[in-house]
Amino acid sequence: MKKLNKDTRTGVLPRVPQPVATQLTDVPVSFDLSYLEKISRNNLKFIKEIISIFLNEIPMAMEKISRELEDRNWAQVANLAHRVKTNYMMLGMTPQEQNALSIERMIKEERFTPTIIITNVNQLIKDSSQLYPILEQELERRNQLS
């Protein structure tokens, strides 16, 4: 039987996505509230409430994930990534949602190296930190509307 080399293997076996580390970037983060506007039919009070919850919860979640990362507690890192991904989805932060999903999957499927996870989690923390002041401004703007 012909021995499969590395190249032919990918052709005949199911392709398993390789873990990819997000490169730490300084691309400005953004949000999109169209999802919340759609489900609430532009209910200003509800949207403000959700932004406030995000501003309360995500910094705490980032602190926790950072601590778990230091302790190399991968399962907890995955759980926290799992939990925050829908929060990013709700605020239309697709790259952050995808990053959280990728962290969760890599750990759960045991296809990761510590470096990759550390890089991706740090990117998530960085992006979130960048977003807080922007969201606070948005909250203030909406407060003035009401």
Binding site: I39, F46, I50, I53, F54, E57, R83, T86, N87
Partner: protein, 453 residues
């Protein structure tokens, strides 16, 4: 049917504050929803006594897994509809939860709101149908309570009541006999709805209403390809009535060849579909009814003797209305009130003369005829009291049964002449000829307004 308005109690079990707020918001879009929010599985389980009808359950909870919470909910009340919300798109997890009794599995994505609202609508529709079925079943059971569905305190009916009390306590086969219109089916239904089979089906089959060549397949069902046109297999009434009651009406009309198959089914408590090879067990209580004298049918060779004894069980003979004395007035009052209620009419009562007229009639069509007479009289009356002129006897059997009404000889003569005048379109010559009486007799009766009125 009136339903008391009750808000739908909905639990939202979600530990993520943002998502929790969003699901609560979506659920509260409908003001009929009373929403309770819980952050973990334990508090949800502790509060099940609040009787939620729907639970939106996050699969990943901090204390117990969604699967475990689902199991506990179903153990508490299997009728609670649980919708799992999860960020996991793992199909096997979803299938597992659906098998455990989850109503739906919704992934947390941009379509969640629409899917969740659709699912909630489905659940509410299903719950409302289920409540309606329960309510109708309860209404049916109440309307067939022995003291409500069967009216009468005559001696003849007291005997029937005594037998009914015995019939409902066991699964014994009951054979009901009585003239047409005496209420054989009402009695059969009353037995069923007062027995321990009341939550199961009551299936009535009228032997005389189904063509002889179709009766076998109606009763026993058939397999696909059993005969031309049997494109699919079909269950028969014996199978459909399983665990319930099978009422075979007009049993005396059953073809003698089919009788042997019925006898075998009753003896073995299993039957075979037409074209089938596998015996199918059944557990249905059998009640039969006939207006014929089955024993006479047996002696004439029209009915199998062995089947006769198999079906005899507890015999209940329903007396004709004419032998029930004052029951006529009780029944008349019952039908009058029911008709008034069903048609939102003002209260109407029977005058003394109308009652008297009813008491002197033979009711060849029995209870069925009495009901029709009362309903017609209620429609015809112009006041709040039904007079004798509103009571009309139109039974096709009245000529044959007029002797059953007690009258004076003079009144019999008047009845006879009236009948012939009606029959021959007031042709006095012809009536005189048929009755072999002089025309002057008829003219004299007309002059005295004894006939033709």
């Amino acid at each position: 049917m009136k339903h008391k308005f009750e808000p739908h109690c909905i639990f939202v079990v979600e530990d993520d504050p943002m998502y929790q707020r969003m699901i609560k918001y979506i659920m509260e879009l409908n003001p009929d929803h009373k929403v309770h929010v819980f952050e973990d599985g334990a508090s949800c389980i502790q509060n099940l006594h609040l009787n939620p009808s729907i639970i939106s359950l996050d699969y990943t909870l901090p204390d117990i897994s969604g699967g475990e919470v689902l199991k506990k909910i179903k153990q508490f009340n299997k009728d609670i509809s649980v919708v799992i919300l999860s960020s996991q798109q793992d199909v096997s997890t979803a299938i597992g939860l659906l098998k455990e009794g989850a109503y739906d599995y919704i992934t947390k994505d941009s379509e969640t709101k629409e899917r969740l609202l659709n699912t909630i609508d489905h659940i509410k529709h299903k719950n409302s149908l289920s409540k309606e079925v329960d309510s109708l079943r309860e209404e049916l059971q109440t309307s067939y309570k022995l003291d409500r569905s069967i009216i009468g305190d005559s001696k003849a009916m007291q005997k029937v009541f005594a037998l009914l009390e015995k019939a409902v306590k066991t699964n014994i086969t009951v054979s009901i006999t009585g003239e047409t219109g005496t209420g054989k089916e009402v009695i059969a239904k009353s037995i069923h709805y007062n027995s321990n089979r009341k939550k199961e089906a009551f299936i009535a089959v009228n032997m005389s209403a189904i063509p002889k060549n179709l009766l076998e397949s109606e009763l026993f069902g058939y397999e696909k390809g059993a005969f031309t046109g049997a494109n699919t297999s079909k269950r028969g009434m014996f199978e459909i009535a399983n665990k319930g009651t099978l009422f075979l009406d007009e049993m005396g009309e059953m073809d003698i060849q089919l009788q042997s198959k019925v006898l075998r089914a009753l003896q073995e408590r299993e039957m075979m579909r037409v074209g089938g090879t596998k015996p199918i067990p059944f557990d249905a209580r059998i009640i039969v009814a006939t207006h014929k004298n089955l024993l006479e049918e047996v002696s004439q060779g029209n009915f199998r003797e062995d089947l006769y004894y198999r079906l005899l069980g507890l015999p209940i003979d329903l007396p004709p209305v004419r032998e029930r004395g004052n029951d006529i007035l009780l029944l008349a009052d019952f039908f009058l009130k029911a008709f008034v209620k069903n048609n939102n009419l003002e209260a109407i009562k029977l005058s003394k003369a109308a009652k008297n007229k009813l008491l002197h009639y033979s009711f060849p069509g029995n209870v069925r005829e009495l009901k029709a007479i009362i309903e017609l009289a209620t429609v015809l009356t112009n006041g709040v009291e039904i007079g004798p002129e509103d009571i009309r006897f139109n039974s096709p059997k009245k000529a044959a049964n007029f002797l059953t009404t007690e009258m004076t000889f003079e009144d019999y003569k008047i009845t006879i002449v009236n009948h012939f005048l009606e029959k021959y379109d007031n042709d006095i010559d012809l009536v005189a000829q048929r009755l072999e009486i002089g025309k002057s007799t008829i003219y004299r009766m007309l002059k005295n307004e004894k006939v033709g009125t």
